[in-house]
Amino acid sequence: MRQFSATVVSNISLCRDLYRIDFAWDARAVGPAPGQFFTVRVSDSTVPLLRRPFAVSGYASDTRTASAIYQRRGRGTDLLAARQAGERLDVIGPLGNTFPPPKNSQRCFLAAGGIGLGPVLYLARHLVRDGRDISLVFGARTSAGVPAAGTFDGLSPAVCTDDGSQGFPGSAIDYLNTLEPGTFQDTVLYACGPMAMLKEYHAIAATHQCPCYVSIEQVMACGVGACMGCAIRVTTEATYARVCTDGPVFDSGVIVWT
């Protein structure tokens, strides 16, 4: 990991709720892999104080351009959305672990909800480039949370909306439950989204006895494993794991789901 001052390449709105920022990744830093994240100091004021973490949603190693898909949720992401091309961004990355690759024969089922889109999209592109057979499902509350088709470049996700305003009417979980049980044979599940959704994926995976990797969010202070602030409960002897360094990707079987 490195701390660097990155130049913003572009920062655009993808749909009402989502934005994408592209910036130049530092040449001396390792390129980010699917599952990894970075933190940004969004303001030089003391409000907001803490850096904000975002998952990498794509990385072009030729141009060294990294991107993230984010939602405006509060002051930090408001300030991020105000950054314009050419401006600077104080970035630390790459942080965290990566999605484990599927076994040779395994098919990959990828599921993203809301702001979980970024890391799942990056993983999807990565797997497709490796010639893997993937299925992608993306769930949002309403069509306002669904970016234009171009965002998925070439991938064709099953889009679900809770209010039925676009694609499958219902959650991504509801959608999965409509699929034939055979779908999950020799399959590995990858998911990122709200905790409640991840818990359901874990349950589905357990039912079908397929491995399931989830990318978790937790409020962070340091992002590098030093403060013990981003703990989540795990089933191992350690009791707690740090999302920033032991994760953000975990085998769903290790998490204590509450």
């Binding site: 104080l49 630390i92 602030g229």
Partner: protein, 301 residues
């Protein structure tokens, strides 16, 4: 230019350290910070047994600050010695072990074990942890207990013993003098304030433990005020802590009477801050023609 700080029979290379609990065991920041430039690394609290820590979430941001409820999560003294000290011992900077416990004996046994390691500069006795025998209040709120604990730690070691005070007391100078009387070599001032944030939507405190420790720029005026008072009440060095984000902030503490400072959550915000604070202090000394960092203390009018 003399940047050194004498504490007991030890000497720190410069006055800018990184505060306990905000810098892990050092290695976490290795690729972001030149550790050799630090005056000291104050370790995460070390307790006798490993502690898993408190339930999640453990953090919440507040205006110009943050609350934490880590709960002394740490690997325990044995694994600290075997897993964490080898890395720390390789660093050029001083390693101060922050020691915590739920009772006096805990502290003493931790120090005894740490004495076996040759590369520890000294101890920072964290008397701010809630103490079961003391009605849940921190041991550090009772000067009698503090003096006795420090005296017993003093009996175990010739290394510098630093006592880290809680600000959550009526008169911090009384506790500071107790620490000095017990044989403490320095005072760390301050630990975090008590605070709470309630999630109005969920109708419960954000932190499952209820209260947490408030730190960051929000508490800087409190840290400076207490450093001013403590440094006038004792004759041992005071290490100023609380909300330092810049050299100017650190200079406030040094002018208030501190001999050294610690950077806490500012490192989270920008890992280059400890380094910039040190170079900013050096620039100030050059500009103001101050030869010795220890002389800054005397300059307040």
């Amino acid at each position: 230019m003399d940047l050194t700080v004498t504490i007991g029979n030890g000497k720190l290379p410069n006055p800018v350290g990184v505060a306990s609990g905000t810098f892990g065991y050092g290695s976490e920041y290795e690729s972001l910070i030149e550790l050799s430039k630090l005056g000291a690394i104050y370790s995460k609290a070390v307790t006798l047994e490993p502690r898993p820590g408190n339930d999640a979430p453990r953090l919440v941001e507040t205006p110009s600050g943050m609350l934490n409820s880590i709960g002394l999560a740490n690997v325990g003294v044995e694994r600290f010695l075997t897993d964490k000290m080898p890395f720390l011992a390789r660093q050029a900077c001083a390693v101060v072990c922050n020691v915590a416990g739920s009772g006096e004996d805990d502290y003493l046994r931790v120090v005894e074990r740490l004495e076996t390691h040759p590369d520890i500069f000294g101890y920072e006795i964290n008397v701010s942890c809630p103490n079961v025998k003391h009605g849940g209040l921190a041991l550090g709120t009772d000067p009698v207990l503090v003096e006795r604990l420090v005296r017993r730690v003093r009996g175990l070691t010739r290394r510098p013993v630093i006592v880290k005070l809680t600000p959550n007391v009526t008169d911090i100078t009384v506790v500071a003098r107790a620490a000095e009387n017990g044989g403490g070599d320095a005072i760390s001032c301050i630990n975090s304030l008590v605070g709470m944030v309630i999630d109005v939507g969920a109708r419960r405190p954000v932190l499952p433990a209820g209260c947490g420790g408030l730190s960051g720029p929000a508490i800087r005026p409190v840290g400076v005020a207490l450093t001013y008072r403590v440094s006038r009440a004792v004759s041992i060095p005071v290490i100023g802590i609380g909300g330092i984000m810049s050299a100017d902030d650190a200079l406030q503490y040094l002018l208030a009477g501190a001999s050294a400072v610690q950077i806490g959550c500012a490192t989270f915000v920008d890992p280059s801050i400890p380094g910039r604070v040190l170079s900013g202090i050096a620039d100030y000394m050059t500009r103001e023609q101050i030869a010795c960092v220890q002389d800054i203390r005397g300059l307040l009018q």
